[in-house]
């Protein structure tokens, strides 16, 4: 099975080509079958690969497999091969990308059924899976970078999928450009890595890095650059504003790309490079600080948003912040654990939101929803599971992964724990607010919408149910020892983080402290859930209209802290002004003014000798020869 690694990304690429080229010929059922079929095949192959990795791990081996496909670049001292690396970390990512990817493909068959661009949609989705798999499987930073930029491209294409809408197309552009700021940083990091280690292969870089001193300046620079790259892809401060806008894309895209997979690439990349970060404590502190700030800022915005997808988008930004907090405090396993559980429940939440939007006839404003519980029972139950999971209420998956991050945060710095706990309270609040506004109370939409309400078809609800089961039991992957668990995930991943563990030593927190922390966060989450439920379900409060007066804090939150406006003033306008200045003043008036002035002067003085230019080619050539001879003679006498 390991020999077939190359097939895993290749299959979706084939799907992309077939669906892309045959988009006007193939029938919709065939397109759907092809699009989902290739991802299913990749998933089955990934299961086989995972089984082999698992067996190897059970036998106590590190389970690292490398497969080289061909030499991509060889020029000067640089040699880069297109090769794939499977180890415990990438094996799990393979399952997430292809597994959840497959479910979302199936869901899309129902969701996009009436769209004219059905085949184009599946082609782009397949292309995304291809690039994501390249990103995950790359055995060096260069191949990872191809995947990294490639997923950005697909994200652009899919956000602007309904390109006839100007705002949607503009959201795609914003996402791509902001991502590119991060990509640029990635690229410079790659150059620096190559310059320092002489190779880009993970298996070449990390052992060398492990031998370097703690706090090495080069490592500091490399990790800072990589982190900036991660803030772009994973929507952290300061590059997070594209993700909420990215909700312009069709909902399955939000679920797959902007929740479950692509946005976690930054965490994956840092987890992959963990030894570089462990040896740069300053960077780790910055990662933790940015992570917690993003988690809080985004959560604070989410509590006042009324667009169901916007709430989920800010929630994603916030949860990604938790993952970075985890990385920053050295909880690599915890952060990755949260990647896994978040992939389950956030994909589920988006797909559930999609089911709601579908039933409501493309309505996304929660102020027009309410009471959907009885119309969409499966959607309701599955979203309830996901909401409990993300809110961190035991025993669902989110509790375990968030707890692990918070426990590490506590032992690193109590303040980080407190802030993380506050964020968790926000999370429980905005999620139950969303659930209450959508499913409880009276229906607030039009009668037309009320007649149209229906549960989604099986192709959409079956993926919801599967994801709900995973969201519920996902926590079992890594039950902490305090609760008598075996920490299966931590053991499985241990070779990936072995170098870092050797530097930091084992993590230890008393069981009694851990119980207290767990109890506090669980109770806090439940209290906030009840508060939100009472406010929006029982009392039936409906959020204010857009232009209603708000308090200062509510206004800040509702207007997303004016970050977009700030960037517009600080970056976009000055850049445009500079651009106009260069063109109008420097280019046209300056350089061209000089040239034209010179030309005019020459033209005037040439009036007199105009007779020389009589249009006779023969005389031109004659003049040329004379001139050449004169010049030669000049050279002779000066030589």
């Amino acid at each position: 099975m390991i020999d077939l690694i190359w097939l895993i990304p290749l299959l979706p690429l084939v799907g992309f080509l077939l669906n892309g080229l045959g988009r006007n010929v193939l029938s919709k059922p065939l397109v759907g079958l092809l699009g989902s079929g290739v991802v299913l095949a990749s998933f089955l192959l990934s299961c086989g690969v995972f089984a082999e990795v698992y067996t190897a791990r059970q036998a106590g081996e590190p389970a690292v497999f490398i497969q080289s496909v061909f030499e991509w670049i060889a020029a000067g001292s640089l040699e880069v091969s297109l090769s794939f690396l499977v180890d415990p970390l990438s094996a799990i990512m393979l399952l997430i990308v292809t597994g959840i990817g497959f479910l979302i493909h199936v869901y899309s068959i129902g969701y996009m059924k009436h769209d004219a661009g059905f085949a184009k949609f599946f082609a782009f989705l397949n292309l995304f899976v291809f690039f994501m798999l390249v990103l995950v499987l790359g055995s060096n930073y260069a191949v990872m970078f191809i995947g990294w930029e490639g997923v950005g491209l697909c994200s652009y294409l899919l956000i602007g999928f309904w390109f006839k809408n100007k705002e949607f197309a503009s959201a795609g552009k914003k996402a791509f450009v902001m991502n590119r700021i991060g990509d640029l940083s990635f690229l410079i990091a790659v150059f620096l890595i190559f310059n320092t280690f002489g190779t880009l292969e993970f298996t070449g870089v990390f052992p060398q890095a492990a031998g370097m001193a703690m706090g090495d300046t080069t490592l500091l620079l490399v990790t800072l650059l990589l982190f900036v790259a991660a803030t772009g892809k994973s929507a952290q401060i300061p590059l997070f504003t594209w993700l909420p806008d990215a909700m312009a894309g069709p909902t399955p895209v939000s679920a797959l790309i902007h929740a479950a997979t692509m946005v976690t690439a930054g965490i994956y990349m840092i987890a992959r490079s963990n030894i570089l970060f462990t040896l740069s404590p300053v960077t780790l502190q910055i990662v933790a600080a940015i992570g917690i700030c993003t988690a809080l800022l985004a959560a604070a915005i989410a509590i006042t948003q009324n667009d169901i997808k916007k709430v989920l988008a800010y929630s994603t930004v916030s949860q990604l912040g938790y993952m970075f907090l985890g990385l920053g405090v050295g909880a690599f396993t915890g952060a990755f654990f949260h990647v896994i559980t978040h992939a389950f429940f956030k994909a589920l939440l988006f797909l559930g939101a999609g089911s709601v939007i579908h039933a409501m006839g493309d309505e996304q404003d929660m102020r027009h929803m309410g009471g959907l519980k009885k119309h969409l029972p499966i959607t309701y139950v599955t979203m309830l599971v996901a909401t409990i999971a993300i809110a961190g209420i035991p025993p669902l998956s989110g509790f375990f992964s968030k707890d692990e991050i918070l426990a590490h945060a506590f032992s690193a710095n109590k303040l980080l724990w407190v802030l993380g706990f506050v964020g968790a309270l926000f999370t429980a609040f905005y999620m139950f607010r969303l659930l209450s506004l959508t499913f409880f109370g009276k229906f607030r939409g039009t009668t037309e919408q009320a007649d149209h309400l229906h549960e989604s078809p099986a192709s959409m609800t079956v993926p919801l149910i599967i994801l709900a089961v995973l969201s519920a039991v996902g926590g079992l992957l890594n039950v902490p020892s305090a609760l008598g668990g075996g920490q299966a995930l931590a053991n499985f991943l241990s070779p990936v983080f072995a170098d870092s563990a050797a530097v930091t030593g084992p993590f230890h927190l008393d069981h009694s402290t851990e119980y207290v922390l767990m109890a506090v966060s669980a109770v806090g989450a439940i209290v906030m859930a009840v508060v939100a439920y009472r406010q929006y379900a029982v009392k039936g409060t409906v959020p204010k209209a857009d232009d209603a007066p708000r308090g200062v804090l509510a206004k800040l939150s509702y207007h997303k802290f004016y970050v977009d406006e700030l960037y517009d003033t600080l970056v976009v306008r000055p850049l445009n002004a500079l651009s106009v200045f260069f063109y109008r003043i420097v280019d046209r008036a300056g350089i061209d003014g000089l040239v034209n002035g010179l030309g005019k002067r020459v033209g005037e003085s040439a009036q007199g000798i105009r007779l020389l230019q009589n249009g006779n080619v023969g005389s031109y050539i004659f003049m040329m020869v004379i001139a050449a001879v004169l010049i030669l003679a000049f050279g002779v006498f000066n030589g």
């Binding site: 060889a74 020029a75 640089l78 006839k164 791509f176 310059n195 050279g635």
Partner: protein
Amino acid sequence: MNPHLLTILIFLPLLAAAVMLTVPARRQSAYRYIALVTGLFQLVLSGGMYYLFHPKGAGISQERLYQFVDHIPWIRLDMGGLGRLEIDYFVGVDGLSMPLLFLSALVMVIAIGASWNVQKSAKGYFVLLMTLDMAVMGVFSALDFFLFYVFYELMLLPLYFLIGIWGGVRREYAAIKFFLYTLFGSVFMLLVIVGLYFSVTNPDTGAHTFNMLYMMDPANYVSGSFFSALANQELFSIPARLLGFIVLFIAFAIKVPIVPLHTWLPDAHVEAPTPISIILAGILLKVGGYGILRICFSIFPDAAVQSAWWLGLIGVVSIIYGALVALTQHDLKRMIAYSSVSHMGFVILGMASLTTEGTAGAMFQMISHGFLSAALFFLVGMLYDRVHDRGIYHFRGLATLMPRYTVFVALAFFASLGLPGFSAFIGEVFVIIGTFNAESVNGLLPRWMAIAGSVGILLSAAYFLWTLQRMFFGQPYLKGGGAWSKALTDASPRETAIMVPMLVLALVLGVYPALAFDKINASVLALVELVVGN
């Protein structure tokens, strides 16, 4: 056994032009078919040569390492006390010229394809086009400086007429501006050529020579001569060799073009007919880059090392300035012209790094930009052919009206903005790696230049995506209303047949760059050795 393939490649268009002159002017369509057959034949021939080209043939300063060489005495004039005048017909190919010859043949075919609907005095047009074709092939092959100069000047005249007669509204202004800029460069170039002639002798005959390869070897300089490294002559208190380098560099840099010597380019592009824009961007700009490597760097390596920092700065300024100015353009063609300035800045930056990665990257970038810019100008031409308008603000929602055309534009834009998997990415990344490594390899360029250069990649995403969004997305809205939407038909089979190979080439070179690097590498190594090794 020497089948004179290179000579055939160079002079074939001249033969075609001669045939055209015999065809009566009323048989309009004959010219384009003659041109197309010639172009395709050249493409096959240069493709075959590319395939046969031995990757170990480093060339640069060693005649025996050149391939497809034709070297015959051309002008021998006894000048009495001044010795004998030696001018050779000396052409040959190495890793610097081989890819550019193939590129030229390819771009020529595209240009001929884009000329399909030329009505205005087709005879004159195609004869001039063929003359231009011959001249560029000659420029990339000549190894005798006099011969090079002849071809170089020969390139200028057809272009002047092609812009000045077949161009747009302000064609005369653009043509004269182009002519003056380039002439300014080449007049001074001639002085340096003469100076070099009197400084260098053929070691076998002792006669003064225009042979470039002899000029690359310090041993061939007459002691005490103007450009002799040992003599340390000065003019206007500038060392003579540095002065010679600067003059030649300016001549070629105008062609590249560099900021601030670039303002002829947007005007020339905007006024030039589509095929000439394609040739300008696809081939002419590369003559500049090629000349810097072949002549400035190889003949004045010492001065190149001294000036590297300044060249790097010029590269960075061109990258950023071109990109920033591209951001504010309202005319699609002008926007692409400024993007050319930015992308060619990478060529200068890569060369300035004087590392193998950077120089190979500069070569690769020239190749990649050659056919990508040709593709971009062809795409602009497609729009202009239909509605005679190129205003970015005059179109909206073209994706709905012309879906296939939109796919082409999107692919060409993404390829040009340096997306991995396309050729421009490889070129730009190698340039930046080279610049980045220069600090530790030879200490010629500081690292910030690499970082500033990569900002250009970011800006290119901004202007290309902005254009894409402004013109192609949203609800269809056209300045010309219903008449335009009727005229805006999707890409025709002829246009598709021209676009697809170019986009495939961009993809193939991006995925498997070894196709080009294998042929370039040996020469780049030899060149870097020649320049930095001293």
